[in-house]
């Protein structure tokens, strides 16, 4: 069977969406924990950022992998959504879920919406922070600090500056709530897509997935709100 068919097949698309989705969950968790360094002070945050940029070529490999994961995940998600529109051109006059054991929910039905919002957010987020003042191709002496005598990017200053604005602090928080909604269905769904589910495991994995989704979301939201309300 050719690889082209695998990518196009209904099962192949789900496998790719599931694998990339779980990879992105691991990335989100790592990113969220990294953000929490700010609660130990600006230097701890800048040191973490500096550590990442000092990885050099290894960081580029990670970044290239991330870009690939995002692109595969987004393009498959759009294909699945578009395919479902084509598969039912005429909808029902009245439609409702039959209830348990259905997992249909606001989360499961809004994957395309929350997913696309997250994709747009990602671009804005990268422009604001990664490629923001002091970032690659955007040298800015006012965003340089000193770590152990060495000059380093003062990302903490930028983060504090951005999250002092209600637009950024609350906009970011709302998008992170969308991430919780996306992951509530997404984490369980990924395991089901990878064929890892048994009926007895479903409630457990769905429950743990929801807890992880909420933990990631709250972890992300903690930083902007703590800065905006001058807690840190």
């Amino acid at each position: 069977m050719s690889s082209k068919n695998v990518f196009r097949s209904p099962v192949g698309k789900k496998l790719i969406t599931g694998i990339t989705g779980l990879g992105l969950v691991v990335f989100a968790l790592e990113h969220m924990i990294g953000n929490l360094a700010m609660f130990s002070g600006n230097d701890a945050y800048n040191e973490y950022a500096h550590f990442l940029s000092s990885l050099g070529p290894l960081l580029y490999v990670f970044e290239a992998g991330l870009v690939a994961f995002f692109l595969f995940h987004i393009s498959n998600g759009i294909q699945i959504w578009y395919g479902s529109r084509k598969a039912r051109p005429v909808g029902y006059d009245s439609y409702r879920s039959a209830g348990k054991p259905s997992q249909q929910s606001v989360s499961s039905r809004s994957m395309i919406v929350t997913g696309l919002i997250l994709a747009v957010f990602l671009v804005i987020h990268l422009i604001s922070f990664k490629f923001g003042p002091g970032g690659p191709g955007n040298a800015d002496p006012s965003y340089v600090t000193s770590l152990g005598g060495e000059p380093a990017r003062d990302l903490a200053k930028l983060v504090r500056h951005k999250f002092d604005s209600p637009f950024y602090a609350f906009g970011y928080s709302i998008v992170m709530l969308m991430l919780v909604v996306h992951l509530r269905h997404g984490i369980w769904s990924a395991f089901q897509s990878l064929g890892a589910m048994r009926p007895s495991l479903t409630p457990l994995v769905y429950g743990l997935g929801t807890i992880l989704a909420i933990a990631i979301g709250l972890g992300f939201i903690a930083l902007p709100l703590a800065i905006y309300f001058h807690i840190i």
Binding site: S9, P10, I80, S84, A98, P101, G195
Partner: protein
């Protein structure tokens, strides 16, 4: 003597595959709680025939919930509100006098409407024809114990084989996916030694045919399991995915 019920039916009427469809509302004044849902449609059709109107076309055969012929969306749920029941076994005692019931056909590009509530489900036949069978010569019936099969495997295979191919999974799926139907057959045969020689070619051929027919992709809503009259679990879809991985990687 049972008290009669006055039931309003809002039914999808469509003269033919290409015709413009519309909802018509009818009143059945002499329904009773012992009627099945299909008998309610029978009574409606007698009314329509007596008043020189076209009866409502709907599929049905055994009316015992085992053949998979009948199937309509009742008030937004495939086969209606009663769990693990084909609509022929849905009885009017679940409704009360004065209720309005909305009746629609299965809606899917791969299930084109033939007339009114009747859809063409031959896409399912083509998925089965792509590989949902055993082509080795099984010979005459063997002695019962000559081919040992673990009880758990036999039970699971039987659970998956319970699919009656009614199409409710497709009708209820927000994506109009046929994953539960296709997976049930793949998993049924994968559980048994007779199905083993062709398991790799079977899963790829059936999955490809499912896509070819224009069904949507699965998004793991699990709505199919909730409406399946045989209660087939979405674990069968997980099994199909494992079978698929083994076929592609192995």
């Amino acid at each position: 003597m049972t008290e009669s019920m006055n039931i309003k039916l809002k039914v999808w009427r469509q003269a033919g595959p290409k015709a413009q469809g519309r909802f018509e509302t009818y009143t059945v004044p002499d329904a009773n709680p012992h009627m099945s849902f299909l008998e309610l449609l029978d009574v409606l059709n007698e009314q329509l025939i007596k008043s020189d109107q076209d009866p409502v076309e709907f599929d049905h055969d055994c009316r015992e919930g085992i053949c998979g012929s009948c199937g309509v969306v009742v008030d937004g749920v495939a086969h209606g509100p009663q769990r693990r029941t084909a609509c022929c076994q849905l009885h009017m005692r679940h409704y009360k006098d004065g209720d309005t019931i909305v009746v629609e056909p299965w809606r899917a590009e791969a299930f084109p409407i033939i007339k009114d509530l009747v859809v063409d489900r031959s896409a399912f036949d083509r998925i089965i024809a792509a590989g949902g069978y055993i082509s080795i010569n099984a010979g005459a019936a063997q002695d019962a114990n000559s081919l040992p099969i673990a009880k758990t495997a036999a039970e699971l295979a039987m659970d998956f084989a319970a699919c009656i191919g009614c199409g409710a999974c497709v009708a209820a799926c927000p994506n109009a996916s046929a994953s539960l139907f296709t997976a049930a057959k793949i998993s049924h045969l994968a559980m048994l030694p007779q199905g083993a020689p062709e398991r790799k070619s079977r899963v790829t051929a059936m999955v490809n045919q499912m896509a070819e027919e224009g069904f949507g992709d699965c998004s793991n809503h699990a709505e199919c399991e909730a409406v399946c009259p045989k209660g087939i679990s979405i674990s069968t879809i997980a099994t199909m995915r494992r079978e698929y991985m083994k076929a592609v990687l192995g």
